[in-house]
């Protein structure tokens, strides 16, 4: 009975929302034109990357903060359980991981570079890096994940700290994360590069510290 009632309510909810979507008025603010007008000052040629790291850089700064916070909580909760040794890996998997990991690293660097002028960027590159790290761990080739050392911890926090340092440095100019147009490209590349490394480590850590 409860199951039926909830399903009926959810269906009514969906119908009402779809009806609202179909009646949606045209947007009051023309955002694509606003983004296009400022593209020349953004230091980046691809609009999505420009919005992520320049026009709405504040969101991205908070986002990497949220990720880091989630990882710290996962570490704190998981630390009380004893770390278990992974099973001895299959030699076929090890060989595959040895071949695939450098290619995944190459793909990640390409994605990071492509983010300046076509779909791509720090998040996609970080996801590929995380997949490479998980593959290496499953093959038993990355022992550092068993007990996170100082280098790993610095790498996890570097993206957020560099982003925060740039934001704090730009406060001198007047506004948070308002890049001077001449420096915008270089600053965004610096932030994106460290973000990629940190995102890859954090995403892999969220998976591996839970496993």
């Amino acid at each position: 009975m409860k199951r039926f009632a909830v399903a009926l309510l959810a269906a009514l909810f969906a119908v009402a929302l779809i009806a609202a979507l179909l009646e949606l008025p045209a947007p009051a603010v023309d955002l694509p034109a606003a983004v296009g007008a400022k593209m020349a000052e953004s230091g980046i040629a691809h609009p999505v990357t420009a919005v992520l790291l320049n026009f709405r850089g504040y969101d991205t700064l908070l986002e990497i903060g949220v990720l880091l916070l989630a990882l710290i909580v996962v570490l704190a909760v998981a630390a009380r359980e004893e770390a278990k040794q992974p099973a001895v890996a299959d030699p076929v998997l090890q060989t595959l991981a040895r071949i695939a990991a450098p290619l995944m690293l190459l793909a990640a660097v390409y994605l990071l570079w492509a983010g300046a002028f076509r779909p791509g960027g720090a998040f996609q590159a970080g996801a590929v890096l995380a997949a490479a790290a998980v593959l290496l761990h499953l093959a038993g080739l990355a022992a550092a994940w068993q007990k996170p050392g100082k280098c790993l911890r610095i790498g996890l926090a570097a993206g957020f700290l560099v982003f925060l340092a740039v934001a704090a440095g730009l406060l001198v100019e007047g506004a948070l994360l308002q890049y001077p147009p001449a420096w915008a490209g270089a600053l965004i590349l610096l932030i994106e590069a460290t973000l990629t490394v940190s995102l890859g480590l954090i995403l892999a850590g969220l998976f591996l510290f839970l496993s």
């Binding site: 409860k2 909810f13 979507l21 609009p47 990720l67 916070l69 996962v74 969220l206």
Partner: protein
Amino acid sequence: MTSGLIFACAGVVLFAMGTAGVVLLDHLLRRILAFNLMGSGAFLVLIGLAQRDGMPDPVPQAMVLTGIVVAVAATALALALARRLFALTGGYGLPQSEAKDGND
């Protein structure tokens, strides 16, 4: 009806399915999956509406990219808490639903 609107409507259906799942399911892992389905539906609505006029709008796309990463973080946090709950109570249910399981 453009393809963008069809995507948005599919997102609404996903969101409604996820909502029903969160209410109906007892197992915490299933509830987290249903919550993720709600998130995916919301992202699909944003992305679909962003391109309903043909030209894609970069602002919602960037918002969804940010949202996906935050959703991953929230899911990992929920999974860690669910595991902690399992370590403490030996079950993947919230207390009142566990009492119901015990009667079955």
